[in-house]
Every structure is written in C-alpha cells, then in structure tokens.
Symmetry: C2
Subunit: 216 residues, 2 copies
C-alpha cells in the first residue's frame, strides 16, 4: 500500500461557501451549527461601519470600525468585496480568507446577494453559493415582525430587504428550504461534503491516479 | 402557512447518476447499499449479449439477450446508449429510464466510461457522474487477482481494462475514493443529496419563491 498516500490526504483547493437568505430565514442559526460541527470551516467576519446593536459583539458578529478606517482598508485593496446598504458599509477582509485557504481550510460567508456577487466575480470557481429559503411567506413575516428589538420602520425596511434579497435566489448554485432546522443543516452539510469531492477541486487526484495505474 | 406547499414538495427534474470505476474498486457493493438506503433511486439494468456468468441472475445483473435481439433494440432507438467491449455488446434500455424520471425518481447507472460518455451527450444537464477510485494500485491489483472464478487471461485483460477505465476519471464530476466503504457511501449519498438541492433542477422553486414574496 505504499504507492499512494491515504485517500483522505488527496490535496484540494479550499472552498468559499456563501450562505445568503432574507433576514429571518434562520441563516445565522444554520451558520453557527455548521461551524460547530465542521472543524475545517471558518467564518469570515465582515467589517462594518454600522453601529453595534446591543446584542452584538465586536469581532464575533462584525468587526465594527469607523468610516475612515473602512475607507483606508478599501483603498489599500484589503477588502475582497464591499457594499453600501442603507448608508452603512460592509466588507470582507481579504487577509483572513487568504490565510484560511492557504492552510487548507474552507471559509463560510454569511453575506447578502451584493457581497455574493462580488465574491463570485473575484473567485468564481472556488465559490459554492447556497440560498436559504424560509418555509413560507407567512412564516418569514412572522419571524421578521416578532423581533422586539426593532421599531416599525425597521421592520418595514426589513420586509423590503427580504423582498429584494429573495429576488436574487436565481444567482445561487443551491437552494435549501429551512422548514425543519435539522433537515436544512443536513442539506448544507451534504453540499459541503459533495463539493469537497468535486474532481476539479482535487489538485492531488492526478498524482493519486497515476500512482494507482503504475502499480497495476 | 397556506401560501406555499411544504418545502419537500418543490418539484424537480430527475437525476441520472452515473457510477463508474475500474472493476474491483467496490462499485457494485456501493451501488447495492445505495439502492437499499435510498428509496427514490432505481437501478438501470443494462442489456447485454455477453454470456451469463454462474454468479449472475438475468434481470438483476443484466438483461441477457441474443445479438439479434440487441440489434433490433438498437435499430428501433430503444437504447439510450450502447457500446461493444471485447466483442460483447452492452446497452441501456430507454423505456425504463423515461418511466422512472416521469415518476419523479432518480436513476442509477453502473456503467463504464463509454456508456457514461454517451449518456452525458444525450442528457447532459441531468447527469451527475461519479468516479470511484480504489485506495491504491496494490489494493486494486489484489482485488482483481483474488477472484477465483476467472483465469489468468481474464485477470490480465481486467488489469488492462482497469488501466483504460482509470484513464477516463477526468470526465467525471466527482471522485470518491473507496478506502473505507462507509465513508465512500457517505460521500456518494452526500453528492446525491446536494445535487437534488441544485437550484437549476428545482423546477418548482420559482413558484415557491413567488408565493413567499407575495405573502410579505
């Protein structure tokens, strides 16, 4: 058995996994569970100029920064993508992604369709994009409205954002309906497992097969 | 919750799942386990002019037929693909596949690279192809040689066939190494689950999303 390394060591390129959905479709819970269960996956944390909410922790939910710091990063090319939404800026730090990929880890992006669009443009073939749908419109509306933290204007804006985000599901490779959380999680995990077995990502498979043929 | 049907009922096109590998890589065991565990998957049984082996059952391993019957099917267009290998002909009956797809079931093909090539040409976007690799060349050689049923000429020919088949792994979407059977099975099942969540296969998703947006 000395002709080839064990199967699990076939080298492959890292994945950039994009998870998008309208707010309220359960994407954040899905992301959290996914990261807990998959140790070769790291979350890309966005940088934002948006004020921190009470429930948010700097460096966990976002890297919060000033408009000036954001501009400096953007100008230096430190952001893989960035977008302005309702006057606030959001971006993805490039360093973290490069470093994780170099270490053979995959990176999860919990971003909206605008960010997804830019990352697809920059890193096309390594991107796997998944759109998470709520089980129904009534259910989504219910989830958006019951967030006590937000006022009515915010809720209305969020309903509008949800409509806009839903309009872009056709840009995504996969669609997962979050009807039962466990099923949705199983679906996303299956997508990751499958995409890691894609031949064109397996940079080491050519040498592996050559080794097999030579031993016959 | 009346605005859209339950998620599990989003209509989709059926899949044609091709499993190829050199003989001896454990593909038949994988196919059998897959079919046992996945009730929405049916096996396409090839028709062949090759003589039946003692271990084979007509209608289970192949539909055995005469050269004349084969020709008649081929001429009538009843075969989705066909090929001649070492003087014997092999083909895929079209009726069965059409019928399974019409009933919303997926079809598994346990065929070689030639058959895979033709099915890809005929049904491109509905085809998902998986190449199963042995863990090593030594292991494959061992598995091919120990089959007591076959004489030395057969074994040599099979080693030659294995080399040829291995030369075509680059035509496949996915590569699964059959090192540990359970891992390989998990891999193939994940590929099926993922491919069933591909947006472009979900013919019903457009109506589903429209229903959500209208309810907001």
């Amino acid at each position: 058995m000395s002709d080839a390394p064990p199967a699990r060591h076939i080298a492959r390129r890292g994945l950039l996994v994009i998870l998008s959905s309208p707010s309220g479709a359960g994407k954040s819970t899905l992301s959290r569970l996914l990261l807990e269960r998959d140790r070769s996956l790291s979350l890309s944390i966005s940088v934002t100029t948006r004020p921190r909410r009470n429930s948010e922790v700097d460096g966990v939910h976002y890297h919060f920064c000033t408009a000036r710091d954001f501009e400096r990063m953007r100008e230096r090319g430190d952001l893989l993508e960035w977008a302005e939404v309702h006057g606030n800026r959001y971006g993805t730090p490039r360093d973290f992604v490069d470093q994780e990929l170099a270490e053979g880890r995959d990176v999860l992006f919990d971003i909206d369709w605008q960010g997804a669009d830019q990352i697809r443009t920059t890193l096309a073939s390594d991107v796997v994009s998944i759109f998470v749908l709520p089980p129904s419109g009534d259910e989504l509306r219910f989830r958006l409205v019951r967030r006590a933290e937000d006022d009515e204007a915010t809720i209305l804006r969020r309903l509008g954002n949800a409509r806009e985000e839903l309009g872009h599901y056709t840009d995504y490779d996969y669609v997962v309906v979050n009807d039962a959380l466990q099923d949705a999680l199983d679906g996303v995990e299956a997508i990751l497992t499958a995409e890691r077995l894609r031949r064109r990502r397996l940079t080491g498979v050519d040498g592996f097969v050559t080794g097999i043929v030579e031993a016959l």
